[in-house]
Symmetry: C2
Subunit: 319 residues, 2 copies
């Protein structure tokens, strides 16, 4: 019997992933660019158990139902096939994202699970292979394998992994907005967008161009350009989603108020640019030196958390 524990962090995309080229393999329609955070780690232990007849999943101390376990089992099946094993496993995961924070925990969750499961099943995978593996659980998990800034490539199963990207010294201020209503999952939102938004093909084409520009801005340390690209790309993602039928709006009134405040900050000469994933939270990108100024300017509306580039997935224990 073999046990391993891994830790991974969430990431926030500056150029977004929205839409799959292949749903079974989680291949994205376009590449994306993200920053892995230094807050809200997920710690996951996988214990391979030759005597077990089914996989089990504990999340924050509670045994999870069949549906949640099913997604983990499908992921472990990929690992077992690579390892040539048929043994079941017990997965115990502790996720520190406050559930009200609405930050997707699937990226850190599947990155940590990929690392722990690979180690527990005795696979020796490099970062690229781990990123491809994590992708199978959740697309954006491919990026949480990588520390700091990462580009996740579109392409075939072989080609679609995340890798590190040199970047300037940046920070993010996370504004935790409560949506007040049951969210539509990213998975369902992507499906609706691909099927019903007339803007989806142009989103794919334009995001591919945006990614090239963002990678160049990152490498050249051009923060202003990277910031403008980040906000424009985020608003384009929310636009392509909003154009679905029926329409889908993830940003709330409060989210828009934060976008307005960020616009005013820029008018005052502070380099700050807003982005948002498929939910009401707004994340503000800025130079590390400006993080406190940005936090102060957003204060009083919602809970704020300052994040910096964080570590990639690490296996912290194996036995």
């Amino acid at each position: 019997m073999s046990v391993a524990t891994a830790v991974a962090h969430p990431n926030i995309a500056l150029v977004k992933y929205w839409g799959k080229a292949d749903a079974a393999l989680n291949l994205p329609a376009t590449g994306s660019l993200s920053m892995t955070l230094d807050v809200y780690p997920t710690t996951t232990t996988v214990r391979v158990d030759p005597d077990a007849t089914a996989d089990t999943l504990r999340l924050n101390g509670s045994e999870r139902d069949e549906q949640a376990t099913g997604r983990v089992t499908r992921f472990l099946d990929v690992v077992r096939e690579l390892a040539g094993s048929t043994h079941r496993a017990h997965v115990d995961s502790v996720n520190t994202v406050p559930s009200a924070a609405g930050l997707a925990s699937s990226a850190s969750g599947f990155a940590a699970l990929a690392g722990a499961a690979a180690a527990a099943y005795g696979l020796d995978l490099d970062a690229r292979a781990l990123s491809r593996l994590a992708r199978r659980g959740s697309g954006s998990a491919s990026r949480s394998i990588i520390p700091g800034f990462a580009v996740w490539h579109a392409g075939t199963d072989e080609e679609s992994f995340a890798e590190p990207l040199p970047a300037p010294d940046l920070a993010m201020v996370i504004a935790v907005v409560d949506s007040g209503h049951k969210p539509v999952s990213s998975r369902e939102g992507m499906r609706r967008t691909v099927l019903t938004s007339p803007f989806y093909p142009a989103w794919v084409t334009s995001t591919a161009e945006t990614l090239t520009a963002a990678v160049t801005a990152c490498r050249e340390g051009d923060v202003d350009r990277l910031g403008r690209i980040t906000e424009t790309n985020a608003l384009r993602m929310h636009a392509v989603i909003q154009a679905s039928d029926p329409p889908l709006r993830y940003l709330t009134a409060t989210s828009h108020e934060i976008f307005d405040r960020v616009e005013r900050l820029r008018a005052d000469g502070v380099g700050a640019w807003a982005t948002a994933d498929a939910g009401p939270n707004v994340v503000v990108l800025c130079r590390a030196a400006d993080a406190e100024t940005v936090r102060a300017a957003l204060a009083g509306l919602v809970e704020l958390v300052v994040a910096h580039p964080g570590p990639g997935m690490r296996v912290v224990e194996r036995a």
Copy 2:
């Protein structure tokens, strides 16, 4: 010397006009569908003056500057060419839209000006010719010539006019939202969208299909279908605008709150659908019988005005 006075009302599009095929002739990239309102009339008097050396413009009792007058002169030049006249004119216009209401007054303004100028210069034009003429001043003015519901066709200069459309018994509740910042004009917003939004070509293609469906829903009296089309099309217009570079957001936090309230109204079984032009105001379409219910549900947030289908442009005096 000849004088004429005309009255016209604003209109709100259910299928939006956003983007020109020809800027000089104000030919739209797509057709649109609107309801002319029974509130906020503009009354305009045109006095042809053989002795004057320049056109003059008074708006709500104040003499306007050269820039505002210039747009009127360019419009009167079209009328003069049709009439074979070189005489200048004095234009006196009274607009009852409260300026804080942010409802575009160019539709009612140029519809009234077209009617008054045509009469004052001795032109005998039918509704179709008046609609084409009003279009030259402001695209959406072509629709304010027509009472109640109107379709404005895309096409050549000859083909691009508005005409009446049979429709069910509907009302609109106008929520007057203050933007709190200097707006970007529709003209400038359209330009930026056409030049920089990657979604613009798909907006044009999809809106053409949407218009066909909306005309059918109108003719068949299918209010639910027309309502859904109205809200989806409005959110698509704001999406194609938001995807511009730099991004352009006309809806404010309060606008989004009203869209949320309308969504909740529908969840409660009330047929209500939100739309918004290029500004923060939200207009809620509903059955005439539901107008009071909708008004009550939106109360307490901003000023509300209930509007019904209104008259087309009328020449009320000539001498």
